[in-house]
Symmetry: C2
């Protein structure tokens, strides 16, 4: 009976970590969406809000870290639960850095909004959408222990990489034909790389999930 109570409590604690991580993931997705909306609609106010919102992501990182440490210290979990918590600790770092990337995008948006638009943005929003879906699915794969979904995320990384390369080639053409466009092109290039890094973080998370599910390490072998 005592034991059962302990176990229910423990489950509730693990569930709490799971939910906080999903909450953080949802907020990170919102940041990606807002950073891109600020770009496409040339909305500097939204860019400023997105930069400020990074504090909320940072706060959640610290909160989840503390929760994980508490559970490790008090419950001394083994095997699968231990893997779950230690991976939660790593994943939260990736989510926090995705937040940093969104803030970096928003900073470039602020600068871009001070100059005339270089061209309409088509591929960057597509890339952001793909990266955001990867973040969502990587977290879903984590909380559900869904290996197949994690594998899909790893594969989707190629889509984002391809879009990034395409955007970079296009920007290079712009810069070569019009040196006055170089500064703006460099900023857009930077945003494209931020999105690529966001997708990389999602891929890192997905690789760790496969590791968790399989109980052995497939990182660095499926690339």
């Amino acid at each position: 009976m005592e034991r059962e109570h302990f176990s229910r409590q423990f489950d509730a604690e693990l569930n709490d970590i799971r939910e906080k991580l999903l909450e953080m993931g949802g907020k990170v997705e919102l940041m990606i969406a807002n950073a891109l909306l600020a770009l496409v609609e040339r909305n500097t106010e939204l860019a400023v809000q997105t930069i400020a919102f990074d504090h909320e992501i940072n706060r959640l990182e610290m909160e989840i870290d503390e929760k994980c440490l508490e559970v490790l210290a008090r419950r001394q979990p083994a095997a699968r639960d231990l893997r779950f918590i230690t991976l939660a600790l790593k994943i939260v770092t990736d989510l926090e850095r995705i937040g940093d990337q969104c803030a970096n995008i928003a900073k470039r948006v602020k600068e871009l909004n001070l100059e005339p638009a270089l061209k309409p943005y088509i591929d960057l929003p597509r890339m952001a959408q793909a990266a955001s879906t990867m973040v969502k699915e990587a977290l879903d794969a984590f909380v559900r222990g869904d290996e197949n979904l994690a594998i899909k995320v790893c594969q989707d990384d190629q889509v984002v990489d391809d879009l990034n390369e395409q955007i970079q080639r296009e920007l290079l053409t712009f810069m070569m034909s019009d040196p006055s466009a170089i500064t703006r092109a460099m900023r857009i290039n930077y945003i494209s790389k931020c999105l690529e890094r966001i997708a990389d973080h999602a891929t890192n998370v997905a690789e760790m999930v496969i590791f968790m599910v399989k109980g052995k390490d497939i990182r660095h072998t499926i690339a």
Copy 2:
């Protein structure tokens, strides 16, 4: 007596993690040095070796992760030791990603070596040296629990950021005056950003060390 034996064994295990992390740190420093040497001396063979060496870093990441999980599962450490191990888990991820950045630098070096040199490299090696010292000192701060050294690392990040901005301004001038230099300038720009990211990883580690030493979270407050 039994207890003392347990404690000595446990100390030996923590020490093993410590030493493996320092070994990984030393290898990452070597990668930074080699990637830059390959750039400055236009040594494509060394660039290729540096890219291949990333596997060794990845192997160490998995090895240290496993060791940490083992110790958590078998020893069920509390308080300070628990913090040490969970931070080791996070730090190893940063070190692995520094290895990725070195491989990325080496890939650009291979491409740059196919074209005539744009200009002698002065600031990039200085930046690499500064970033590499940050990595070394962040790890030293971790294994010694040295808060002051960790604070120094956080402060040194500004030096690398300043060098990165200076290099970017300079490359912009190059590109504007000579469109045929744009592709090379973009590659050098990419290398500069990789070094900046390496310094960011070192700063992340240092912030986590201050967190460990103080037992409370100063991340996101000293920036």
